[in-house]
Symmetry: D2
Subunit: 349 residues, 4 copies
C-alpha cells in the first residue's frame, strides 16, 4: 500500500475549504492531520460539518488555531491554504520556511507582477519575492513545473473555465486580435460562506444578475495567462453573473478566428491539448456543457461552435467552481507533486 502524505487545511470554514476536506477525507493517499480555523478552534470537524460525521477521522480531528508551528508539529508535509487573499501570504511564508509544500487557493501567488497585484487587489503584496517562485498551476498546461514546485498558486474559478478553452487556440495562433467577450455564470458558493444579506437564500433564489462590471479581479490573472499563451497582450471583456445554484460555472466565450482559419483547426488544437488529459472532456461541435454533469467533480467540459453569420467562434465550458475551479484542482496538483496518479481521489462522480 502506498504511503499516505500528511496534509493540513488552513482556513477550512468556507465552501472551498469544505470541498477540500470532502476530497481529502476520502483520498487514498492523503491523511488529514490538521484543520485550522481561528473561530472554530477546539470543535470537531464533524461537529461543524455534520455531513462528515462518521467519515474518515472527521469525528476525531478538531479544528486548531492557525499557527504555523503547530501545523508543522502535526507532521504535515503539504499545507492547503483556503484563505482570503492577503491572508494566505502570511501563512505561506513561514510554512515554506519550515519545509512544507504550500498549495494556495487564494489569489496571492497567481500574478507574476506585484504591481498588477496592487492594481487589482488594492494593497501592496507582502512577499513579492515569492511571486517568482510560485507556479500558476493549471495542471493541464504546466504539469512539469508543478511537479517541481513547492509553492502552488491554484487558478481562480472563472479563470480556469476561460483559460482551458482559450490557451490551446492562442498557442496555435488561431485567434485574431479582436477583443474576446466572456460571459460567465457562477453558483453562490463562489461568493463565500459569510454573513451577508445579498447572499441570503431569498435574495439569490429567482435572481439572475451580473456584478463587478466592467472589471472583475480575475481579469488580472486571465490577462497574464492569455498573454503568455499568445505571446502578446490579449484584449478581453468579462462579465460574471450570480445565479441560483449552489455550485457550478458556465462560461460562454465569443472570439474571432484569424482569417482563413476554420473550425477544424480549432478542434485539432483542442484535441491535441486535451485528449490525454483526464479532467478535460471535449464534448464536440455544437455540444453544450451542462454544470449538472460536472458539479461535485474535477471535470471541465468544453463544447464549441462557429457562428458563420457573425464570424464568431463560440466556446462553451462548464466546471464546478469549488471543484476543478478550486479544491479539485488543488488536489490534482497535490497528486502531481507527490507522484500519485493524477486522478487519485478525484474520480467519484
Amino acid at each position: 500500500m502506498m504511503e499516505r502524505v500528511k496534509v493540513a487545511v488552513v482556513g477550512a470554514s468556507g465552501y472551498s475549504g469544505m470541498e477540500l476536506l470532502r476530497l481529502l477525507l476520502a483520498h487514498p493517499h492523503a491523511e488529514l492531520v490538521a484543520v485550522t480555523s481561528r473561530s472554530l478552534a477546539g470543535k470537531a470537524l464533524s461537529a461543524e460539518f455534520p455531513r462528515f460525521r462518521g467519515v474518515g477521522n472527521a469525528d476525531l480531528l478538531a479544528f486548531s488555531a492557525p499557527e504555523p508551528d503547530a501545523i508543522k508539529a502535526t507532521g504535515a508535509e503539504i499545507a492547503f491554504l483556503a484563505l482570503p487573499h492577503g491572508v494566505s501570504v502570511q501563512y505561506a511564508r513561514p510554512l515554506l520556511e519550515m519545509g512544507l509544500t504550500v498549495i494556495d487557493l487564494s489569489a496571492d501567488f497567481r500574478l507574476r507582477d506585484a504591481a498588477v497585484y496592487r492594481e487589482y487587489y488594492g494593497h501592496e503584496h507582502l512577499a513579492p519575492a515569492l511571486l517568482k517562485e510560485a507556479v500558476y498551476a493549471l495542471p493541464e498546461i504546466r504539469a512539469e513545473e508543478i511537479r517541481k514546485s513547492r509553492l502552488i498558486a491554484c487558478p481562480g474559478c472563472y479563470p480556469t473555465s476561460i483559460l482551458l478553452p482559450l490557451i490551446p487556440l492562442l498557442k496555435a495562433g488561431l485567434l485574431s486580435n479582436d477583443p474576446i467577450a466572456v460571459s460567465s455564470m457562477s453558483g453562490a458558493s463562489g461568493a463565500g460562506r459569510k454573513e451577508s444579506v445579498p447572499l441570503l437564500f431569498c435574495e439569490v433564489t429567482g435572481s439572475l444578475r451580473s456584478y463587478s462590471v466592467p472589471v472583475h479581479r480575475h481579469l488580472s490573472e486571465i490577462g497574464q495567462e492569455l498573454a503568455l499563451a499568445a505571446g502578446h497582450t490579449v484584449a478581453l471583456s468579462f462579465v460574471p453573473h450570480l445565479v441560483p445554484v449552489h455550485s457550478g460555472i458556465c462560461t460562454t466565450i465569443f472570439a474571432t478566428l484569424r482569417s482563413k482559419t476554420g473550425i477544424e483547426e480549432v478542434e485539432t488544437a483542442l484535441h491535441e491539448a486535451y485528449d490525454s488529459k483526464p479532467f478535460v472532456r471535449l464534448l464536440g461541435r455544437g455540444q453544450s456543457p451542462d454544470t449538472k454533469n460536472v458539479v461535485g467533480t474535477n471535470f471541465c467540459d468544453i463544447g464549441w461552435a462557429l457562428d458563420e453569420r457573425a464570424g464568431r467562434l463560440i466556446l462553451l465550458s462548464a466546471e464546478d467552481n469549488i471543484g476543478k475551479g478550486a479544491a479539485g484542482q488543488a488536489v490534482q496538483n497535490m497528486n502531481l507533486i507527490r507522484g500519485f496518479s493524477e486522478t487519485a481521489g478525484l474520480m467519484n462522480v
Copy 2:
C-alpha cells in the same frame, strides 16, 4: 367608469397564456369573455389553474374549443393568441376577417419576409400577405403604428431584452460595425409547459447550460429589427442559456463604440429614448439589473458600462420573459390600441 373591452385568449394552457389570464383577470378595462384550449374544453378556468380560484370570473368561465365562430359569438373584440408558431396564423386569418383585432404572441407575424420565416422556421408561411400588415410591436419603439394596427406581432422574449438597449444606439449611429455578442439566460417558463424530460425539475435545478448554439430562431427577428434601426445589416452572435429560475431573462451585450464616441453619448441616447417610457427603467452606469426586480412585472431594467481596457460597451438588461417578454407587452399593446392608459393593469409589482 370606462367601458370594458371584451377579450379572448386563444391557447391559454401554457405559461405565457397563464400570465395573460393573470393580467386580464385583474385588468380594469378588460373583460375576459373566452378562453380556449382544445384539451381543456369544458373545464372551468380556476379548475385548471387553482391560483385563480375566487378571482374575477375565473370560477365561472370555462375553456372552450378554439373555434373562430364561437370566439366571435362571445362578443370578443380583441383576441390574444398564445399559440405555437405555425398555429397562430391559422386563427389570426379568420379572426381578422370577422373584424377582431389580433394580438399574437407567437413568431408568426414578426418577420416581414416570408423567405426568412421559411429559413428559420422550416416551413412556408401560411399567410404571407398578412406579414405586410402586421406590426412588430415594441411599444417603446412603434407606439404610433401599434395604435393603428389590427394585427399585432408581439416581439419574442429574448429579442425584447436585446432590442431595447440596442435600438437607440444604432439609431444614433453610436456603434461600430464589429459583430455584437449577446449572452442571455432565461428561466424555464420560456421553454414551455409541455411534457419533457429535459425540463423536469430534477434536470433543471442545479443546471446551467447553453442551447441552440450557434443559431437560435430569435436571431431572425433580432436581425430584422437591428437592421431597421441601423439602416444596414448588423452582425450579432447570440447564445441563450437555460437556468434554474421559473421566469426572468438576464441579457448581457458586448458591442463596440464607433471611434471618438463616449459613454456619455450612449447615456444621452438611452435617456432620450426611454425617460418618458414607463416600462423601461434606466439604472445607470455600472448598475446591474436583477431579474428578481422585474419578474411578475412589465418592466425592462437596463444598465451599462464601458470596458475601457477591451474597448467594449457592455449593456445589461433584465425582464420577465413571460411579462415584458410576452404577456405584459401584449397587454401594453392592447392598452395602446384601445386608448387606455399605457400602464393600465400593469403596475402591480
Copy 3:
C-alpha cells in the same frame, strides 16, 4: 372617488415590511406617507428596493428615522409595525397615544396573558395593560372586534395556517381531546432578512430541516386561540421546517374526530365558517393545497381527508407566510377597520 387613508410603515427593511410596501403602493384607498428604518434613513424607497422603481411614490418617498412625532407629523392615521417582538411595543404605545391606529405584525400584542409572553419570549412585557385592548386579528374569526379596535395584533404566519382549519372544528366540538400533531414547512423569508450564515443560499438550497423542536414560540398564540375556540385547553405538538422556497407555508394537521363524528360534519363546519369569506378557499375532500397557488396572494387554501385506517382527520393548508401570514392579513385588517371592501388591494394574483 373614495378618500385615501394615510399610512406609515414602521420598520420596512425586512420581508414582511417589503410585502407591506408592495401592497400599500398599489392599494386603491391607501397613501403611503412614511416609511421608517433607522439604518436606511434618507434613502429613497426605490433605491433600497429597486423592484419598486417607478411605482407609486416609491421614487419620491425616503426612509425616515422611526420617531413617533415625525410619523404623526406626516398625517399618518394608521401605522403598520413590521418590527421585531419587543421593539414593536415601544412604538405602539406613543403612536396610540397620538391617536393613530396601530396594526402590529410582531408577536407583542398577540397574547392576552403577560405571563405567557414572558415564558415564551424570555422577558417581561413592556405594556401589559395594552394586552387587554389588543385584538388577535384573524379577520375570518373576529371581524367585528377588529372593526372597533385601534390596536391590531396580526397573527403569526404558522398560527394563521393552523388556526383557520382548526377553529371551526373546535367551535363545533368535532374533535376529541387527543393531542393534535402539526407539521409545517415554511419558506426562508419567514426567518427574516438578516445577516446569517444558516440562511445563505448555499445553506438553504437542497436542504430540508426541522427547527425549534419541540417548542416554537408560536405555540403560545396557537394554544391561546385553540383554547378560546374549544372552551378548554387543547394539546398540540408542532414541528416547523425550513425548506428552499422564498415564501409559502404548507401545513399538515393530524387530529382525531370525536367518536360518531364523520367527515361530513367537518365539511359542514368548514363551509359554514368560510363560504362567505373571500380569502379562505376550501378545496374539498382529498384535495391538496399547493403553496404556488397562494404565494403573493392573501389566500389560505384548505383541503382535508379522513384516514379511516388510523382513525385520523388530516387537514391541509397553504398560505403565503408574508402574505396571508403577515402583510396581506394586515392590509385586510386595515380594510375592515376603515370600512373599505375587505378585498381592496388584495385581489391581484
Copy 4:
C-alpha cells in the same frame, strides 16, 4: 486484491438507476457488465448520462435490451432491478432461475402477503410463491437474513426513513397504541424521470404540496414491518409532500410513549440498535437532521425530542431518497451478500 463481482443493472434510465450506476462505476469490488434499457439499447452509458463520461467503463459499455439470457451471458452474478413495480417481477423470476442473485428496488417483493399487494397495487402478484423467499432488506435490521438470501427486496424510500427510527422503539415496547402520525417531504427524484407536466421545473419550484392523501402505497410495507417489530398491528397516518429539491427525504414522526416511559429509554433503544451500524447516525436529543448532510450518501440521520406539553415523542430523520432510500441501500445489501465491507463504495460524501 479482492475479486470483483460482475453486476448488471436492469432498467437504468431513471433516477435510482442513475444513482446505482454512479455507485457501481466507482465500487472497488464491483464490475458493471450489463446495463439495460429497452429505449436506450445500443447507446453508450456516457452518451445518455454525460456526467459519467470518462469514468470507469462508462464510455465503453452500451445499454442493451433487457433480455435475461443476454444478461446471464455477460457473466453477471448479481442483477439490480431498477424497474417499475409489476415489471420487476417479470425479470426476477428468470434471472433467479438462471442462478443470479436479484436485488430489486421496486415494490414487487416487499410484501409478504399477495392479498395486501393486490389491495395496494391494484393487480394480482405475478409470482406470489417468491414472496416467501424474499427478504425485506433493511440491512440494519435483517443483516443475517440478507446474507443468506438470493432475492432482496430493497425497502421503499419513505419506509426506510420511517422504519429506522420506529422499529427499535416498537421492539422495546416503548410506544403506546395511539396512532402514529408521520409527515414526510421528498425531493422530486422520488417521483421519477418521466415526461410529466406536474414534475416540470416550473411546476415544482416554489411549490410545497402534499399528495396521495390519505393512503400512499408505501403504507402497506410500513404497516407490515411495524407490526413485525411490535408484535401487533400499529396504526399510522402518513402524509408525503413534494418539495423543490432534487433529492432528500425529511421525515417527522409524532408518537406517544407508553406511560411511565421516558426519553432516556428511547435513547437507550436507539443507541443499542444503531451505535454499531455505520450508516445510521444518531444526532442526539433536540437535534434536527438536515437532508443536505445526507444527500449523495448512504446515511440516515436521526434526531428526537420529547414534547412534554402534548405528551408526544417526536422523531426526526433525513436520508437521500435515491441513496439510503434506494440505490445506496441496494449496494449495502450487495456488500453484505458478498461479504465485502458493509461500507465498500459507500463512504464518499
